[in-house]
Amino acid sequence: QDEGLLFEVGGWEKTGVDLDETPGFDESDLGGLVRDDLRLPGLSEPEAVRHYVRLSQKNHAIDLALYPLGSCTMKHNPRLNEKMARLPGFADLHPLQPTSTTQGALELMDRLAHWLKTLTGMPAVALTPKAGAHGELCGLLAIKAAHEAAGQGHRRRVLVPTSAHGTNPATAAFVGYSVTEIAQTDDGRVDLSDLAAKLSDDVAAIMVTNPNTCGLFERDILEISRLTHEAGAYFYCDGANFNAIVGRVRPGDLGVDAMHINLHKTFSTPHGGGGPGAGPVVLSQALAAFAPAPWVVHDGEGLRLEEETAGEAAQAFGRMSAFHGQMGMFVRAYAYMRSHGADGLRQVAEDAVLNANYLKARLSVAMSPAFPEGPCMHEALFDDSWLEGTGITTLDFAKAMIDEGFHPMTMYFPLVVHGAMLIEPTETESKQELDRFVHALLGLAEAAKAGDVERFKGAPFLAPLRRLDETQAARKPKLTWRPEPTGVAPAPLAAE
């Protein structure tokens, strides 16, 4: 059922809140800057609830079925975390209160930092970055600051594998670096000889995802870091796939200098339809001094925030954002860590990898794995060679999955694989749900090979909408609702 836009179902004078009256309102302190052009529709509370509940039912969600988006780690979001984040001592706390009134919050940040450092084997962490890409920015800024402090400011190039997330090159460019791609081997890893060839004294850093976006562990990781460090560059690790190794492998042991951790991936904070995330960055000893302000320090009386980038902290490169990070996400992530513990987190990695390999094994009877040899880590990558001759594309196949009740996998990424299908089940899927998924995909594969093209080309049939015209959307963008150009102020549309 179509749900009208807020601007169609709302009333221009309606409100769903009861506020105090302000009789004799006096405008004399407003500097003559009072507006009279605010037109926004309002909804009574029953209408608001209905509008949003109806809309919500048009969404897929992890809570409904497997959401196998590779590289996104759509895992279960415990409700305990939501409850904890809403405790008044966390949710109703102003960032600039005297630190004497926020000791519990600072302690939580400190404990979170301890867990992140211990799990990664790294000596320092910057908590402030607000998402993964923001964490990349933080890492590269720290690297830049370190190079500058060492008189290596001429290093302006960053090496990035072809298979990298788009945020890697985008971030490098954002901080003024140029990007050079590193080739990939046939078995889906960084090409060491190409890396060696491209490392030179103008390289500031390499950015490597590990496990990488093909779902594979970089076997030569120690060699990669050795070469990098020998060349005077830093090793930035994209930590998007930390879920595969958490509790089992410490990036610090691999020679990583900086790595962001998506709390909304590995540590289960909800994705929320596109955020908020949180992207703390762990740092090696070489970079520790270059973390952004602020951070939590212990002093004699308790904990406080070091907000200045002066004195001891003079090497900090500055501030990433107002205040001190995504506290709401810290609480959730910490509750998750404590719930799992050292043992549970190790099991997380193991089950994530087990689930992915199980899917890879079972789906390979009909689909073509991009890297059939050896195990994958937390995600299984397929190409579209198995669809050859069917006239059906990866996109078609993905849309047909919707009709089976599943969210499509990540499509056409990484770019190094033709028609890529990247499937990440995560550890919070049961074998039963995996079997249901396999059953559905094998059924689709059979249909594809049998030539039932319309089932794919027309898909989805069972979703709230059929395929959307993205070209039209981009050609003449309509980004806001506007009243029909009648010259008359629009009344809310009647329903019939």
């Binding site: 102003h94 890409a133 890697n168 509790g247 043992d343």
Partner: protein, 448 residues
């Protein structure tokens, strides 16, 4: 392990299907040396009751804003959020969904984003808005970067009334990009200095209203000066409720408006997550950072929404993207949009009036305290006051008495030379008793 569905039997069976003897086989690509056999030195798993106890104890060590008289603002605001908002954002379908890359099964999120964009455009008085940024400060930095792309100039002028954290954040990013940032000295009334600093190299001017000292500013003259010099005007707002009453950035000539949206729909959260608002004139849309949702039709001609203009974004354009932003503040934007739908224009306007009325009451009460000088001439709901003792010391002492009095400016800008300035704020959550309690406490402290 309550979050892990696999049973030992499942694991054994699955390993069999895979053809692996042990789970270690699947980790064989990890170098031996990086495969510690022992568990890491951290506590073992804990039941829900135990975790709840630990976190409740930590929470109890903080003084919640609602626990007594409270007057902090300066970029984060205590407002009442209707229970409906929190209820809806916790619905599984909103809470546990991903960025809406598959529009057929994400129309809920997408329609909300389209409505959000329209609301933000209306509030700011501009043509288009994106689907959210991390927060107001990073949105400000992104706006400056955008101005660089639009004007191909390398200098940005930051007003002395801009929130110091916003200025620092912008400096950090702009420095990396090689831009020159002219950060004017902190000043309650910063208008003239801004106009003076504009020159032919200026890409943009960044002005905040209400500014960090609470001053509401007519930025029209700055807009004229900026435009005359070929620069863009970026208007920053940290208190989104002010949009309900104050002239909009667009109406005063802004090219880009950015704001912190926390005030509407979102809790204080000790500083995050918040939601950045970002709006601009239509002609600039292709240089915008962040996600955009647009209207289109489906295969049967039905109206629907998709993420669009993604050729600006990192996942398509990689190093040529307008920003590296990926995950933004979806759920906070939803909360913002729900709260604003409940308010409507009429409600937001009334909420703003209540806020201003409370702030007037606060001003009147503080103006009567010996040792306090009210610095802010025109205001929405925030004021800067000068106190006869250092503001940080005052804030600490009052906190010990259970009154959270305000933000010492020195906390935001230790080197700003304004150690005697306290930023105070009143909203609809402040009662007359709260205000009287603050005034009485200040009188007591400053009389000594």
């Amino acid at each position: 392990m309550r979050y892990l569905p696999l049973t030992p039997d499942d694991r054994a069976e699955m390993l069999g299907v895979i053809g692996a003897a042990t789970i270690d086989d699947l980790f064989r690509d990890v170098p031996e040396a990086a495969r510690p056999a022992d568990l890491f030195d951290l506590p073992l798993h804990a039941g829900e009751l135990e975790v709840e106890r630990e976190l409740s104890a930590l929470s109890a060590k903080n003084r919640a804003a609602g626990a007594g008289p409270f007057f902090l603002g300066a970029g984060a605001y205590k407002h009442h959020v209707p229970a409906t908002v929190d209820h809806i954002i916790q619905r599984s379908e909103f809470l546990t969904s991903y960025t809406p890359y598959q529009p057929e099964i994400a129309q809920g999120t997408l329609q909300v984003l389209f409505e959000f964009q329209t609301q933000v455009a209306a509030l700011t008085g501009l043509d288009v808005a994106n689907a959210s940024m991390y927060d107001g400060s990073t949105a400000t930095a992104e706006a400056v970067m955008m101005a660089q792309r639009v004007t191909r100039r390398e200098k940005a002028v930051l007003s002395g009334g801009l929130h110091p954290h916003y200025a620092s954040t912008t400096q950090t990013i702009a420095h990396a990009e090689g831009m020159e940032i002219v950060r004017l000295p902190a000043a309650v009334d910063a208008e003239a200095a801004v106009i003076e600093a504009i020159d032919a190299e200026t890409a943009c001017v960044v002005v905040q209203t209400p500014n960090v000292f609470g001053v509401v500013t007519d930025v029209s003259k700055i807009a004229e000066a900026a435009h005359a010099a070929g620069a863009l005007l970026i208007v920053v707002t940290t208190e989104a409720v002010s949009y309900g009453l104050m002239k909009s950035p667009g109406a005063m000539g802004a090219d880009i408006a950015v704001a912190e949206g926390q005030s509407i729909g979102n809790a204080l959260n000790f500083g995050g997550p918040y939601v950045g608002l970002f709006a601009c004139r239509e002609k600039l849309v292709r240089q915008m950072p962040g996600r955009l949702c647009g209207e289109t039709v489906d295969a049967e001609g039905r109206r629907g929404y998709v993420l669009t203009l993604s050729t600006r974004e990192q996942h398509i354009r990689r190093e040529k993207a307008t920003s590296n932003i990926c995950t933004n503040s979806g759920l906070c934007a939803l909360a913002f949009s729900i709260h604003l739908s409940l308010l409507g224009g009429a409600g937001l306007s009334q909420l703003a009036r209540v806020n201003h009325s409370r702030a007037r009451e606060l001003r009147d009460a503080l103006a009567g305290v010996a040792g306090v000088e009210v610095l802010t001439p025109r205001f929405f709901n925030e004021l800067a006051i000068k106190t006869s003792v250092p503001a940080a010391q005052l804030a600490d002492e009052l906190a010990a008495e259970g009154i959270l009095a305000g933000v010492p400016f020195s906390r935001l800008d230790p080197a700003g030379g304004m150690d005697d300035v306290l930023l105070v704020c009143a909203t609809e959550t402040n009662t007359s008793q709260d205000i009287a309690a603050l005034a009485a406490a200040l009188s007591r402290k400053l009389a000594r």
